[in-house]
């Protein structure tokens, strides 16, 4: 395993501080910003899942917007037509997305790389048509607007406004999904994912079940995207699946994974927040020129990739390693936080 860059005390401190800031955010900022933070959370959830598939297992998908859309519609329709509670829809969405993801991932056993990416593109192209055909929402359109959860009376102390309550709901779900992903990639299954990514034939000779790993990572990433969709519809109160939106969502998830740092646990989360704020910043740059912002965003994206080809988390790690090597070179005694250089050089 990789050497620890920080000691256990520092790590706990960072986690407490991060969660503290995340809890504090909606207390300080207004409804518009809180909605933006909540968006960053649900994009994070989807990116966490996609990172398991693309970062750890090396299977590129440009169709996860479809799974997101599925989760959004499933939650919206169950809440709207059947009167379900928001939280009650989550297990259903999780199981259903997992099963659909496994079915879609099945060709991955034989089809690899770009060809697989193209099959997932088909999914993203097809999903909006399916919605147009089978969903009859508000006024005959494909829009479904479920009732959004409101802040219950016992929570009025810390979340008097409904948008704050929705943010906290999203945050709680996001933290659960993050911890699950963390445990998954650091365990046996995570190592199997990497082995299959780096060389599937070699991985199978040491007893890794290729079918289970490949299809499993697809199913898990679909589950994450589905849950992200449910959270998304809870936050925005609107399920929609235009062709452009579905494709753009798929792209956004990939962008979050890559700018955050592929195959790092934190990467997708950092990437999702960066993405959401970069998008917002480029929109604010020329408020009356809405058309220009995607251009600036595209250019910013390309520049970011040039500067940090292994993502923000990957780049930070490189800086950290460099700094520690410098300290060693100057002959200062290694502190408790710094692992021996031998472990460093053989990750």
């Amino acid at each position: 395993m990789r050497g620890r860059a920080l000691g256990i005390g520092t790590r706990v401190g960072v986690v407490v501080l991060t969660v503290g800031v995340l809890v504090w955010l909606p207390q300080y900022y207004g409804a518009t910003d809180t909605a933006l933070f909540a968006k960053a959370i649900y994009i994070s959830i989807a990116a966490l899942g996609l990172n398991i598939l693309t970062g750890y297992n090396g299977q590129v998908s440009i169709g996860h917007g479809a799974f997101f859309g599925f989760g959004a519609y499933a939650t919206a329709i169950l809440m709207n037509d059947q009167g379900w509670d928001f939280l009650a829809t989550l297990p259903v969405v999780a199981v259903a997305s997992f099963v659909i993801g496994a079915a879609v991932g099945f060709p991955a056993l034989r089809v690899k790389g770009l060809y697989l990416a193209l099959i997932t593109l088909g999914l993203a192209a097809l999903f909006p048509d399916l919605v147009t055909k089978y969903v009859h929402g508000t006024g005959g359109t494909t829009l479904v607007q479920p009732p959004q959860p409101t802040s219950p009376s016992w929570a009025w102390g810390f979340a008097p406004n409904d948008d704050q309550w929705r943010y906290y709901l999203a945050l709680a779900i996001g933290i659960v999904m993050f911890v699950l992903a963390w445990n998954l990639v650091r365990g046996r299954f995570g190592r199997a994912l990497l082995a299959v990514r780096d060389h599937d034939a070699a991985a199978s000779t040491i007893g890794i079940d290729l079918a289970r790993v490949k299809v499993g990572s697809f199913a898990i990433s679909a589950l994450y995207a589905g849950i992200a969709g449910s959270v998304g519809v809870m936050v925005t109160g609107l399920a929609n699946a235009g062709r452009v939106e579905t494709f753009q969502l798929s792209i956004n998830f990939l962008v979050a994974v890559v700018i955050g740092g592929t195959a790092t646990v934190l990467g997708p989360v950092v990437g999702a927040w960066t993405f959401v704020f970069l998008e917002k910043a480029t929109q604010n740059l020329f408020p009356d020129q809405a058309l220009v912002s995607p251009a600036i965003f595209g250019v910013a994206l390309i520049l970011l990739l040039l500067l940090l080809p292994d993502g923000i988390v990957g780049g930070a790690r490189r800086v950290g390693r460099f700094a520690r090597r410098q300290r060693h070179a100057r002959g200062s005694p290694p502190t408790r936080d710094v692992p021996s250089p031998i472990r460093e050089d053989h990750p």
């Binding site: 060809y115 193209l118 192209a125 070699a202 452009v244 962008v255 990739l305």
Partner: protein, 295 residues
Amino acid sequence: MDLNLFFSQLLNGLSSGAIYASLALAIVLIFRTTGILNFAQGEMALFSTYVTWWLADQGLSIGVAIAISVAVSFVGGAVIERVVIRPFEKASPLVIVIATLGLFLALNSLTQVIFGTDAKQLGSAFPDTVWDVWGLRVEAQTIGILVVLGLECVALWALFQRTRIGLGLRAVADNPEASRLLGIRVGTMLMFGWGLSAALGSLAGAMVVPTTQALTASSLQSVLVFAFAAAALGGFDSPLGAVVGGLIVGVTQALTIQYIEPLNDIELVVPFAIILVVLLVRPSGLFGSTQVERV
């Protein structure tokens, strides 16, 4: 079964298939020389098509406008390779894919900023003559598109197999390091490949717009999806595969719309189902070359 209807749908399918094939050829060309799947291909073609529209709007005849636009696109494609893609030469394929997606966003919004958001009308390069062949309506438009595709194929074949530049392009695609040692200017070849591909996209754009209603910023996005489908079906490294794949996708699409009632509005299922089946049997497409892996 109404044979006349069948053949007219077949012709429709062939003509839209030929357009998918044109753009698929552009995708394959870049993939073969650089190993990059260019997601911005459709938006590059979109920009070129707007250039064609602008030139025609200035009073040039449509043929001249297309010719100039093809030349402009060639230069533009080469510049994009040099400025945007070359810095990523050593990056991982996933990073390059994201970079082309950035290009996609940038070009799409740039097009709207420069040319405006209102829908444009672009005339066809072909006369609107209609021939009657044994009771079957055959439009000059349809035949024209197929002829252009045929010419593109012949020209590409001649370029790759019969010229020195083509030999260089093939060498670079096969082994860039060895080509460099042999004195081939790899960078120039890559720029040439991107230029060529942008020029093909420009032709595809000029052909697709008159068959649909109008030119808007999203005109080429569904065409791109089908072109990708065509390239996957035929095999990403096979120009012949791109053409055959494009025609298959176009024809199945047209026939599904006409004949399979339950699939109305979701006729996209059919081309992708075909691709899925083909890829399950032949994972590198119909004509793609298979990679042999050693452990």
